[in-house]
Every structure is written in C-alpha cells, then in structure tokens.
C-alpha cells in the first residue's frame, strides 16, 4: 500500500508540473492584458494587475479594424466548414461503399497527398490563383475546401468502413437511389465524425496564418490572425493590446474544442485503429 501512495504522489506531482507548462502561459497573458502600461513594464514584475482593466479589450479592438477582420475570419471558417462537410462526406462515401476500378490506387494517392510539403504546391498555386484573379480575395482560402481534404476523407472513411453493408441494401429495397441513400441515411449516421471534422477544420482555418499571409494584401481583407501579426510588427511595444487580441482570438477555438472534446478523442482513436 505504501508504494501505491508513493506512486500516486509522483503521478500527481508530474500532472501538476506539466499543467504549469501548459496552463501558465494562458494565465500570464490574461494577467498582462488586464494591466496598465506602467504595470507591464515594472521591474521586479508585478504579478496581478492593480486595476483589472477590462477596457483594454475594447481599446485593442478599436486600434485596428478588427470587426472587419473578424467578419473575414468567420466568413472563411463557416464556408470552408460547409464545403468540407459536403465534399468529404461524399468522397468518403464513394470510397467506402463501392467497389470500382482503380479504387485502391486512387485511395493510396489520396493518402499520399498528405505527405506533400506546403511549399511545393504553394508557389504554383499562388500563380494559378493570380491567373484566376483570386489574389487579394477570400476565394483561395475558401473554394479549395469544396473539393475535400485528404485527412478528413480518411477519417470519415475509417468510420464508414465499420458501418454494415445491410444498411444500403435495405435502403435500396425501399426504393432509394444512391444519392438518397447517401444523403438521407448515411449523412445522419456520420453526424459524430462530421462534427469532428467540422471542429478540426474550424481550428485549422481560424488559426491559419500562412494562407492568408500569402493570398491577402489589403488590410480590409485581413483575417484575425493576420491582424494580430500585423499588430506585432507595427506596435512592437504595445504589449497590452497585443495580449488582449490574442486572448479574444483564442476564445472561439477553445470553446469549439470544449464542446467537441468527446468527438475529438473518439475520432482520433477511430482513425488510428
């Protein structure tokens, strides 16, 4: 029994120690965001803000057209999520419920595309979108999402492989055509994994920096991530607004994660089994 108590002590110490590493940076930026300018640059450091200035958030928001950036970020996030859900569910359905020529070869190709480094395709894509007249619009960040994403297709396919074949036979007997079987029976079944890919997509698109950096130029087209980074460049020393915006930007993905935590854990386990 004594060893077990020791063991538990060690486990808890490690849990707490790692929690400091993972949680403390969040706490520290919140504390910084609520300080006054002079408190931030005091040494020895003051830990807690004196005035808890929540107005810092409003000031930071008004320092740049962040409402505009927010709207852009939301537009991209919502539209890509819709695009991914429609396209990936269709593609995964095709790959998992049918036998067809070249199926395995195509699927291996799909997996292989996950290995392509971003910079190989980025340069020609930039030129291609330039040719389409899409540079400095939100299109390059939205439209590709309507053509599926290998990783999400793979996740959905793994899920669909576990759904018994009898289901579509039954639907067929009831007179449903292939598309009806997909949309009326399989889409509802895929609710859990579709939620997972929606959340994964929201996280990655909301946080994306390189895509917007390369494709967008005008300030009015900026996303939150770009606005935040621009802030860093222009007002190198205005640490308070930077921290405030950082916190505001973190909140939506954190909420999305907390909502979908269960799906994320289950979805990842489903994918690697």
């Amino acid at each position: 029994m004594k060893t077990s108590a020791w063991y538990k002590t060690i486990i808890y110490s490690l849990l707490v120690l790692f929690s400091i590493y993972f949680l403390f940076p969040f706490i520290w930026i919140v504390l910084t965001a609520l300080k006054t300018e002079s408190e931030v640059y005091q040494y020895p450091l003051v830990f807690f803000p004196g005035g808890w200035r929540f107005s810092n958030f409003v000031d930071a928001w008004n320092a740049q057209p962040f409402s505009k950036y927010l709207l852009n970020s939301i537009t991209i996030t919502v539209l890509t999520t819709i695009g991914q859900i429609i396209s990936c569910s269709m593609i995964a359905y095709g790959f998992s419920r049918y036998e067809f020529k070249f199926k395995n070869g195509l699927f291996i190709l799909l997996l292989a595309t996950m290995m392509i480094p971003w910079d190989v395709t980025m340069i020609p894509l930039y030129m291609q979108f330039n040719l389409f007249g899409w540079i400095n619009t939100l299109k390059p960040l939205i439209i590709p999402a309507f053509f599926g994403s290998a990783y999400y297709v793979f996740l959905l396919r793994q899920f669909l492989m576990g759904v018994p074949k009898e289901l579509e036979h039954a639907a067929k007997i009831d007179g449903a055509n292939d598309f009806q079987t997909y949309s009326r029976i399989f889409v509802p079944i895929m609710k859990a994994p579709l939620t997972l890919i929606a959340v994964l997509n929201i996280l990655s698109v909301w946080n994306d920096y390189l895509g917007p950096l390369i494709f967008l130029q005008d300030r009015s087209k900026y996303t939150l991530a770009l606005g935040l980074a621009a802030f860093k460049g222009v007002h190198e020393l205005q640490i308070i607004p930077i921290m405030s915006i950082t916190i505001l930007m973190i909140i939506p993905p954190v909420i999305a994660f907390l909502f979908a935590q269960k799906y994320i854990v289950e979805g990842i386990s489903g994918a690697i089994k």
Binding site: T3, Y7, I11, L15, F18, S19, Y21, F22, L23, P25, F26, W28, I29, Y41, S87, M90, I91, F95, Y98, E99, F100, N104, L106, L110, A112, T113, M115, P117, W118, D119, V120, T121, I123, P124, M127, Q128, P144, F147, F154, Q158, D178, Y182, W206, N207, D208, Y209, L210, A225, L228, K232, M243, T246, I250, V254, F257, Q261, I268, S269, A271, I272
Partner: protein, 313 residues
C-alpha cells in the same frame, strides 16, 4: 420485356459511374489544387523564373546552385536538422509521458487531459505572441522566475545560442494531438494484460516496458514520422518569433524556401528548394510503407477487400 432489359442495362451503365460521381469533387480538386501545381512546380524548378521577366530554361541549374553555390542552403538544412534532433525526441517523450499520466486511474484526470490538449487548439500567431512575451529578456516571466531562484536565465530569442531551444520549447507546447493519439492507443490495450502482469508481481515500470511500450510501437512510429515531417516544415513560429534571427541562427529551411519565393521572387529556385524537401519527406514516408504493420489503416484495407475474383466482370 425488351424494354425492361434495355432500361436495366442503362441503369447498370449509370451504376458503374455512380462511385466516380461521389468521389468526383476529390478528383477535380486533386487535379486542380495538387497534381497540377505539383507538376508545374517541378517544371518551374528547371527554370530561372523571376516574377518580373520571362522564365528561362536552365536545366538542373537551380539544383546545382543549391548544392554548390548557396551556403545558406546547407546552413538552413543544418538548422532545421538541429531543430528536429531536439524537437522530435522531446515532443515524442513529452506526449508519451502525458498520455501515460492521463491514463492513470487518479481523480481529476479528465481536467488534466483538457489542460494538456488546450494549447494544441491555439494558433501559431497566438503561440508566437504568448511565448515571445514569456521569453522577453527584460520583462519576461521566465527569466524573472529564474532570477528568484538565483539563476541568471539565458537571453532566449535574442541569443543565437538559445534561440532554437526557445522555438523547441514553444513548439512542444502544442503536443496535445500527439498525446491524444498515444492516449487512445494505450486506452485500447486490454486491462487483462496488466492484471495478469500485476499478479506476477510486475510493478508499473516493468508493466510499461513489457506491455505498453511494445504494444504502442506502431503509434510511436506514426508519431515519429508526423513529428519529423512537421519539424522539417516548421515555418509559422519561426517567421513570427525570430524571422530567422538573431544572426540567422533560426533561418529554418521552410523560411529559406519562403523567402526565396515570396521575398526574393526567385520562383524557380524556391521550387527546386521545395522539391528537395519533398524528396526527403518521400524517403521518410517510404520508411513507413516498408513497415506495413505501422500503417494500421493499411491492414484494414487488406481485411476489408473482397475475396479476389469474387466480383467484377
């Protein structure tokens, strides 16, 4: 009768195309956004391709310049390699330890799981700002805390000697996804194995070495590869935390390619740079394919395949 046969035939013909219809978005997408650009990028890598004037075919010129006439190429490669050597074992180690911790049967473990995963949902921009502030030489909390312990902290991002380590620390903050992959694997191990080991008198460490570790090797290898690939492609954090400095000590390969393309506008050269990295990644992936037990979904594929000759013509 004949009519029915005809429409049946037509339906059969249509049915043959149905699966392709379902996967058609992907086929169009891959041609438009992956294969096309990939081929074009390969072509570009054989050209001197400035933005302003006409491209000129130079054969393997870009590649030979890269290997013989650009010291920055080797420097960036070495910096990236150094980063990977620090980052990969560290991120694997931390995420495995975390996964083991959150599979322990202790109270509040779900809260810890959430805390450990949380940074993984934060963007590169936010991560760079948070850690930039923590590492701040003058007002950073890290060196202040160290000073309270009587230690003079390094200058983190400002000192070429510690800049890479700083980026490793900031990157390792986001190991949550890797942790979850280990976690679900460990959770899937049958408790019977541990029970019988415990009866045989095996302690927790012995159980880890003899049961957990061997059983998670496929996941370990999977995480090793993904972690290596992401280390080789590290860009956002570097761009925002140090932008290659100080004294080019963090001029990562990703930044080298990015600057060649979008700052120096040497599109052909940057394409050659990118293809070189692609080949390295392909070689690494070849390692995965060679060990079939590692790509677990591959096993599934074989299992779910119908018996040969059963269907078709």
């Amino acid at each position: 009768m004949e009519q029915a046969a005809k429409s049946y035939k037509r339906a059969r013909k249509l049915a043959k195309w149905t699966p392709y219809l379902f996967i058609s978005p992907w086929i169009v997408g891959i041609l438009l956004f992956t294969v096309g650009p990939l081929v074009f990028s390969l072509i570009m890598s054989f050209f001197n391709w400035p933005v302003t004037s006409k491209p000129k075919f130079i054969g393997l010129g870009n590649y030979s310049k890269m290997f013989t006439d650009d010291p920055q190429f080797y420097k960036s490669l070495w910096i990236t390699l150094k980063f990977a050597i620090f980052y990969v074992p560290l991120s694997l180690g931390i995420s495995l330890i975390l996964a083991l911790l959150i599979t322990q049967n202790v109270k509040g473990v779900k809260i810890f799981r959430t805390i450990f995963y949380l940074p993984a949902v934060v963007s590169g921009v936010a991560v760079s700002i948070i850690w930039g502030w923590i590492f701040n030489t003058k007002y950073g909390i890290l060196n202040y805390a160290l000073s309270l312990l009587g230690i003079e902290g390094p200058k983190w991002l400002v000192d070429p000697n510690s800049a890479i380590i700083s980026i490793v620390i900031a990157s390792a903050w986001g190991v949550g996804t890797m942790m979850l992959i280990f976690y679900t694997n460990i959770k899937g191990i049958s408790p019977d194995l541990y029970e019988s080991a415990a009866i045989d008198g095996a302690g927790p460490f012995r159980q880890f070495w003899s049961i957990t570790l061997p059983l998670i090797t496929p996941t370990l290898f999977f995480n090793l590869i993904t972690s290596t690939i992401s280390a080789l492609q590290q860009l956002t954090l570097v761009l925002l935390l140090t932008n290659g400095g100080p004294l080019k000590s963090t001029y990562f390969y990703g930044l080298f390619v990015y600057n060649n393309a979008f700052k120096h506008h040497k599109l052909g050269y940057a394409s050659a740079n990118a293809w070189f990295m692609f080949i390295i990644i392909l070689l690494l992936t070849a390692l995965i394919f060679r060990s079939s037990s590692v790509w677990v979904f591959y096993e599934n594929e074989v299992k779910n395949k119908p018996a040969r000759g059963g269907k078709g013509k």
